[in-house]
Symmetry: C2
Subunit: 219 residues, 2 copies
Amino acid sequence: MAETIIPKATAKRLPLYYRYLTFLANSGTTKVSSTELSEAVKVDSATIRRDFSYFGALGKRGYGYDVNDLIKFFKKILNQDRLTNVALVGVGNLGHALLNYNFRQANNIRISAGFDLNPEIAGTIQSGVPIYPMADMVEQLREQQIEIVILTVPTDAAQDITDDLVKAGIKGIMNFTPLRISVPSYVRVQNVDLATELQTLIYFLEHYGPTLKDADDAE
Amino acid sequence: MAETIIPKATAKRLPLYYRYLTFLANSGTTKVSSTELSEAVKVDSATIRRDFSYFGALGKRGYGYDVNDLIKFFKKILNQDRLTNVALVGVGNLGHALLNYNFRQANNIRISAGFDLNPEIAGTIQSGVPIYPMADMVEQLREQQIEIVILTVPTDAAQDITDDLVKAGIKGIMNFTPLRISVPSYVRVQNVDLATELQTLIYFLEHYGPTLKDADDAE
DNA sequence: GCAATATTGTGCAATATTTCGCTTTTCAAC
DNA sequence: GTTGAAAAGCGAAATATTGCACAATATTGC
Ligand SMILES: NC(=O)c1ccc[n+]([C@@H]2O[C@H](COP(=O)([O-])OP(=O)(O)OC[C@H]3O[C@@H](n4cnc5c(N)ncnc54)[C@H](O)[C@@H]3O)[C@@H](O)[C@H]2O)c1
Ligand SMILES: NC(=O)c1ccc[n+]([C@@H]2O[C@H](COP(=O)([O-])OP(=O)(O)OC[C@H]3O[C@@H](n4cnc5c(N)ncnc54)[C@H](O)[C@@H]3O)[C@@H](O)[C@H]2O)c1
């Protein structure tokens, strides 16, 4: 399915590059060097060149990269040329914050359905997104052919709901609960463990010297 | 400052282990093997043993690890034996969700001050946390000796505010904005880039075969 | 058209991390 | 005690990722 096979570490940086490139394009910049990009996204310039090189020779030696060419290229690679619908399960504190965020603008992603147990929320429309009761979840996901879900339910409920999501044919879950959910191998889970990240930050501050690079990104 | 020097990858997993260990302790379990842990946290058992071994021989061959011993040990390592105060800058959608979350229960972390530009919020108390106007930020951070800040402001304001945070003596920033902020080398930034992670998930679904491990954690 | 300059693309070495496979130790049962 | 099974600890190989350093090549100004 993949052209060549891109290192995972590279894949994780692509959206970052893409966002900065669109920013450059919006401010009228037409060319960019790996050194300039490096400063903006805080990734070593050699790493950027290597990352790009996996996709072929996208730049011109002695000149740099054409911003619009890169955007056109990465737009396809990153599925930014079509809208991706995702669902939100658990419309509580975090869920609401995510609902209110415009993922569409920069990422062409839309939360197109929400699900919640709470009867006061289920059946309403929040920030323009219909919230369904849990009983309708599998059916709605199937019907709307949604393959990606953001999971922001209480930890206790996470595994049971996950099992239902799998039944509904979900392919990817962005999991905000601290539970490491179990899924079949064909389902991909991206854990976003905010408390852990905060603790990791504290650990680094306590145990590592002041000058140390990276440590980034939830990973 | 560090005993030995723990690989970054290991450090990132410690809070995960710690959480599961406290869960085990709460349910009355007194011993655990690397294999059992492995299933719960989805980290290879050899990796877990290696991670633990950086801190010495914490287990007993043929038996496993004593849950309470491990907890006692990691509690110190992870600063869980004392309360860590952090500040929240930008009390909007995301900020509110974080304010309402009890980091103290599992992580002994507390948001003890908030800051916001909006005069309708500044001066109030939200979820038990006083919100100050931006003009008071540097002073309050210094006074309360807060070293860690969660940054949830609009992207445009992120760099300017970061510069002030650095002036206030902040050591660590958990950055929720998509901007890669610039800081001096003695300040550590942990980026939590939700939109990017969602895009990465989509990328993996499109371009990698179904069976592939890991890719986890904002990292 | 030529020289000077900028900047890519990449071989390769360095570094980081994971995983295998085996040895050693401990525990539990008899 | 003795024995068998379980599981840690760890050397070393495998894998993944980064970053240096430089040759190759395009661009720009003259
Ligand atoms: N809020 C944060 O800042 C934060 C930080 C770190 C981790 N988390 C994690 O994110 C998850 C959500 O946190 P939150 O603060 O939004 O919680 P919340 O309690 O505010 O929201 C949970 C939502 O899920 C709904 N819900 C409860 N049981 C359900 C079920 N069985 N099926 C469907 N919906 C159900 C509730 O009605 C509620 O709307 C939790 O696992 C939490 O640990 C949150
Ligand atoms: N909400 C999400 O789900 C989400 C998702 C991905 C990324 N983010 C990022 O997180 C950040 C915050 O998002 P949000 O949705 O909470 O935004 P928001 O607009 O709801 O909240 C921002 C808050 O910052 C305050 N603010 C504005 N300018 C300020 C300044 N100069 N100084 C101090 N405070 C100021 C505002 O009053 C507001 O309370 C943004 O950078 C956004 O891109 C949010």
